[in-house]
């Protein structure tokens, strides 16, 4: 029954949202919830550009069905208008999905090599997008991600990619999003302390996005696709079951038409996570 529920959630659901749990704030990462663990995330993702600042806030919920399968949901809200291209980390879509850690190699103290796949459904929320996207009829979409990497006491490395595509409605279609990320994390020796003390680590996050062309009234809008690559540092601080992460990114590469979109200059994010672990174990 449990697996049927997971399957059902996977079919109807993934999060294209940002900052899942305790990890890098912009990039994809592999960790999933423990069995019966609830996680709650809330944060702000900002994009500052020539047309103004766009803020996306939202709350995410996760539940560990098994040690390797987590179901999650994300409810965002958006403020301000930057007339910016579609992004996996911003927007007004509600999403729900499931993540499956299908590779999990744990062979030494403090080290894991793992891979996680996610699948889910993205549905338009009550808010409209801004700019050229704001005039489109919005249809639901499907999001999938794949990420692999290593977690250890000293270093973290994750690489991942995602794809989000939307259905067409009334001859309008929002652009597909192809995204990728690579992140390196480091915890200095002096911070490899007991778990009852604050745990800090720093990340260098490289992320990229390509959004396809916007289809409006059955016509492809010229120059409406975009490609950007971003890089910047982030810091994660954890105390037992509370995590705060924040980071900032600047553009390394931008191929965006400024006649269609605003010129995005900087991205920043702050996220708060609360993790509620289960003490349940079966009796003998």
């Amino acid at each position: 029954m449990k697996y049927l529920m997971v399957l059902a959630c996977a079919v109807i659901a993934t999060s294209k949202a940002f900052a899942a749990d305790h990890g890098p704030v912009f990039s994809y990462a592999t960790p999933v919830n423990s069995e019966r663990e609830f996680s709650f995330d809330t944060g702000i993702f900002g994009r500052y550009g020539s047309q103004g600042t766009q803020l996306s806030t939202g709350s995410g919920f996760g539940y560990g069905v098994t040690p390797h399968i987590t179901v999650n949901a994300f409810l965002p809200a958006s403020f301000g208008s930057g007339d910016l291209p579609e992004s996996r980390m911003s927007g007004t879509d509600w999403s729900a999905g499931a993540s499956w850690r299908f590779l999990h190699s744990v062979t030494s103290v403090g080290k894991r090599i793992e891979s996680t796949a996610s699948l889910g459904l993205v549905v338009p929320g009550p808010q409209q997008d801004s700019g050229v996207l704001g005039s489109l009829h919005r249809a639901p979409g499907v999001a999938a991600t794949l990420v692999t990497g290593l977690a250890s006491r000293s270093q973290y490395v994750w690489v991942g990619g995602g794809y989000t595509c939307f259905a067409e409605v009334s001859n309008d279609r929002r652009p597909d999003i192809i995204s990728w990320s690579a992140v390196y994390g480091y915890r200095p020796p002096s911070l490899r302390r007991g778990y009852d003390k604050w745990d800090y680590r720093g990340f260098a996050e490289l992320t990229g996005e390509h959004t396809g062309a916007v289809r409006s009234g059955g016509i492809i809008l010229p120059d409406s696709s975009s490609t950007t690559v971003w890089f910047g540092p982030s810091v994660l601080a954890i105390f037992k079951n509370i995590a705060i992460e924040s980071g900032v990114q600047g553009p390394l590469f931008r191929d965006v038409s400024e006649s269609v979109y605003g010129r995005e200059r900087i991205r920043f994010a702050i996220n708060f996570s609360y993790l509620k672990y289960s003490s349940h174990t079966s009796s003998h």
């Binding site: 305790h22 744990v106 403090g110 006491r153 993790l275």
Partner: protein, 163 residues
Amino acid sequence: MKKILAIGFVALSTLSARAEYELVNLTVFGMDCAPCAHAIHVSMKGIQGVDTVDVDLNTGLVSIKLTPGNSAAMRQFNQAVEKNGFTHKDANVVVRGQLSGSAQAPFLDVIGTKDRYALTPLTAGTDISGLMGKTVLIDGVLPQSGKGKVSDTLRYKSVTEAR
């Protein structure tokens, strides 16, 4: 008076037959951060009879002390590790139980749980024939077993008659 004697007898016989884990030390693989350790701590503390839990992230060592009279089973400790997505290596245990079988093929029954182990010495030359049928305190190692399983062999370092 008869009732008091009966209660006293029952209490004494229960005490003498008491069998339980007193200490379990697990080396857990895969914990990289504070929430990992916290998750293990919460899970272990949820097992009835667990008194204290210490988690060392740098060595992976999880030390569990149990209260007298507990009925915690080894499977519960393994489950607490596995449900958080980790694995563990051999477990060092101090356990009280009753010796059964024969001197050539001894078993330890941890009465009050379903745990029963075939005993093998960690080093040769230990004679436990004089302790057969008695309640003993064993300091030993449970080898790593597959997911969801508990080793059926306990390799003992020392066996002493329980007081």
